[in-house]
Subunit: 159 residues, 2 copies
Amino acid sequence: MKPRKHRRARLDLPRIAERFRKKARKLTGPRRAILVALRERGGPVTPREIFRALEGRCDLATVYRSMHLLETMGMVKRYDFGDGQARFELLEEGDDGHHHHLVCRRCADVVEIEGCLMSDVDRQVAEANGFKAVTHRLEFFGICPECQGSDSRGENVTD
Amino acid sequence: MKPRKHRRARLDLPRIAERFRKKARKLTGPRRAILVALRERGGPVTPREIFRALEGRCDLATVYRSMHLLETMGMVKRYDFGDGQARFELLEEGDDGHHHHLVCRRCADVVEIEGCLMSDVDRQVAEANGFKAVTHRLEFFGICPECQGSDSRGENVTD
DNA sequence: GCTCCAATTGCAAACGATTTGCAATTGGCG
DNA sequence: CGCCAATTGCAAATCGTTTGCAATTGGAGC
């Protein structure tokens, strides 16, 4: 069995209900289910995957709407692996989710890269170009250990 | 007038025709026009922008098909700024196009960042995780000098 | 220059991810 | 327990991109 690749954020429902209440939002059945599904996975998940995991307990449109809400509430972070679908990762409260991923081009398996290797590059880039509020988007792509043996073509995640 | 932000690759038509011929491809009117449009811009362009620049001289589907072809021929490089549309940049022969961009979140203006600041990070990431053939995708986002004065909300390119 | 045929194109329909309008449903505060 | 704004499901709409197909066109060979 492979080692766990993603930590599973706690799901402090009372605290979450609290955060919803503060914004006059409801902690509904579908939303609760989505949060659970997100925690189950730990890593980045596509809306469709969440939808499938929910087995009819919630509509796909609702998943999308919920992801938007959770994103604005800072409860999930959106990632883009360049394959045309968004991915969302549950965040611990207070975590800004700034880290990067290493994605297998064959099996789409995702490894979390610890720590942002680019701490001050944003600042350098900002200064060098007169920009403000510079952030970046960085993801790595490669072939994972399991896929290195298998012969060339598989599903391609990106590039 | 703003300084030019992107170098304009030469358009050595005879040489290009040569490269097409070698692959039994035709250097057609639409393709020639697309190449010219790409050179005009210099920087990353969306298929739709190319289409508009061509003013009916070629269908949008043809633009897409051409971009695929040019990409496989190594004549353009595809970039993803996370706003749901692809961008393509004309490459000089021999250039692998590996550089990054700084995109204004307000006006979508793009500045080229010289040199890849991540020369050996790919290798480090590969080794640390047992992956092979690791590459990365990195783009910066911020607010450009021109947009820093204008008050908050404008069109949002990403994030 | 002219022929011929594979490569290419335009057009319209198909697609897949995501968004939205709307009427029916539902949390949660009073 | 009731009310009402927030939310949901469903279907239709959007948007970027791809594809099927019949008509068109480069360019290699004559």
